[in-house]
């Protein structure tokens, strides 16, 4: 019964996506109508304005792993609703909707494959799943990815995308920050690289923990990255925020990240860095 329940909405979702009405989409960067297929062929980057559209774990894995080949790593199942949280919509109903829309159990997926020839574990957070919010499921998946890397002595690359903590899990969600931090410490101690790729948007508790603890911090262009939400800041200081505030380029300028890298170059940059971080020796060209 449960698989049927899960399957039906997913099929509906796929049909809707493939219907002719949705063949075109409006670019969130320049507002122009773009053919969906052109966007997909261009790594979901707008051919007109270079806007990097948000993408999910499967697209990310396919783009970054050599030849688009990888093996997904199972992540632990956690209790769905530890607090029996009820706001205007019960939390289980929100989970059900997110699962139907994404086809995934949680907002963080882990896979293993090669990047530039370097065997690597990668975790990808999915903004389409409840805003990539971090609860026990995301925390457990993050830790599982780190442990997989630790077990096999591999680098861990994490692509973040999150609105922050999953409020419906109360303090459990906050405690995913120290959980993830412990997992990163273990990688550090084992001498294994931990590389963060910040994607749009990465805010709140995720930024205040694993998104800012990378050996190397890379961001996609124009990604929104910050601790506090822009509305909260505006209300606190009662001023308009400067243009480009909390964007990747702003963080680069302020010394908070190493590089802003275009999506078309991301796999190559990661491959080069991981190769050197893992001590691969290459013949001099």
């Amino acid at each position: 019964m449960s698989w049927l329940n899960n399957l039906r909405p997913r099929l509906k979702f796929l049909q809707k996506k493939d219907s002719p009405d949705n063949l075109w989409m409006k670019c969130r960067g320049c507002g122009q109508m773009i053919f969906q297929r052109d966007l997909a062929q261009n790594l979901h980057v707008c051919p007109q304005c270079d806007h990097h559209e948000r993408i999910g774990p499967v697209d990310r894995f396919t783009q970054l792993f050599d030849g688009g080949t990888y093996r997904t790593i199972a992540t632990p199942k956690v209790a769905d609703d530890p607090l029996k949280f009820r706001d205007q919509k019960p939390y289980p109903a929100r989970l059900k909707a997110a699962r139907a829309a994404t086809g995934d159990n949680e907002a963080f997926l882990v896979a293993r494959g090669a990047i530039g020839g370097v065997d690597t574990v990668m975790g990808v957070q999915n903004f389409a799943y409840m805003g990539g919010s971090m609860g026990m499921g995301v925390g457990s998946a993050f830790v599982a990815g780190a442990r997989e890397a630790l077990k096999h002595g591999l680098p861990y690359v994490v692509c973040t995308a999150s609105g922050g903590a999953r409020m419906q899990e109360g303090l459990f969600s906050l405690m995913q920050m120290p959980r993830a931090t412990v997992a990163i410490e273990e990688l550090n101690e084992a001498g294994l690289p931990y590389v963060v790729v910040l994607t749009d948007p990465t805010t709140g508790g995720v930024t205040a923990s694993y998104a800012m603890l990378g050996d190397i911090q890379i961001s996609e262009p124009r990604a929104l990255i910050g601790l506090a939400g822009q509305r909260v800041i505006e209300q606190t200081i009662r001023e308009k925020l400067p243009e480009g505030f909390q964007r990747a380029e702003f963080l680069l300028e302020h010394g908070m990240i190493d590089k802003v890298v275009h999506r078309k170059d991301l796999a190559a940059v990661l491959g080069r860095l991981l190769g050197m971080m893992t001590g691969q020796v290459k013949d001099a060209a």
Binding site: A79, M136, I184, F250, G255
Partner: protein, 326 residues
Amino acid sequence: MAQPVIRELKLVSFLEFEKPIAALQERIDALEGSAEGSPVNIAAETRKLRKKVDSELARIYANLTPWQKAQVARHPNRPHFTDFAEALFTDFEPLAGDRYFAEDEAIMGGMARFNGRPVMIIGHEKGRDTAGRLKHNFGMGRPEGYRKAVRLMQMADRFGLPVLTFVDTAGAFPGIEAEERGAAEALAQGTAACLRLGVPMIATITGEGGSGGALALAAANRVLMLEHGFYAVISPEGCASILWRAAEKAENAAAAMRISAKELKELKLIDRIVGEPLGGAHRDRAAVFATLSDAIGDELASLEGLNADELRRQRREKFLAMAQAA
């Protein structure tokens, strides 16, 4: 002329749900201020009223809703870091600065002696009066404050000083400059520094435990919480405005998020509840200082004799376990 002003000031310290107590107190004040009636009768009457105040306080405080607890936790007369530093410790030497940018007085810290033993104490200070609140930025730390905390923790580790923290913040300060100077990174490093310590660490949520700004000083071997404190991933108002689209629903959000010490202890997210005197810590500071001092003393004794690796391992295991399996 001056009289009504004084009465108004007295009433400020009563919270909305303490109205019955405010009324009783007003009658006590009136009786004591009146010249009529025999002093004996007045004394008897005020004694009776005081008894009633106590029973009302007991009734109200035994049934506080999570939202009411949040208001007690934020009570302006609640003891703050400076008060705990003075009452629980001797030889407190405040230490300043992050060595990179500035001194941030929202987070204070320094060496002190706890029952004679040298320790490092760190905590959020909200400030007492208007000038103090501005000086301490209402206890909302900027990146410098958290970087100072990291510096003090690392120093404590080198000199074998247990780290005792006192958490009382609405959260890290949300401002342009805080973001420019890497507020998120500063918090992340704070949490990481706690988890790295090879010395015992005990954190106490004394008032408000506001999200990542609280956690950065609270990833400790033991997390204690004063009975009427609260600890939450987002403020009840913030949660309400996002999920209910109405900040007025803070009461619902506070209940739904399970922010009280009792609930968090049941969920195994904190380690120990430290009881407060009747009517909250602000009504009898000496009592709360004594109880908290004993509780910290106990917990410190229980960590005594563990080596650095064991302290780190236990702390890590504790936080790693904070997820419920399906």
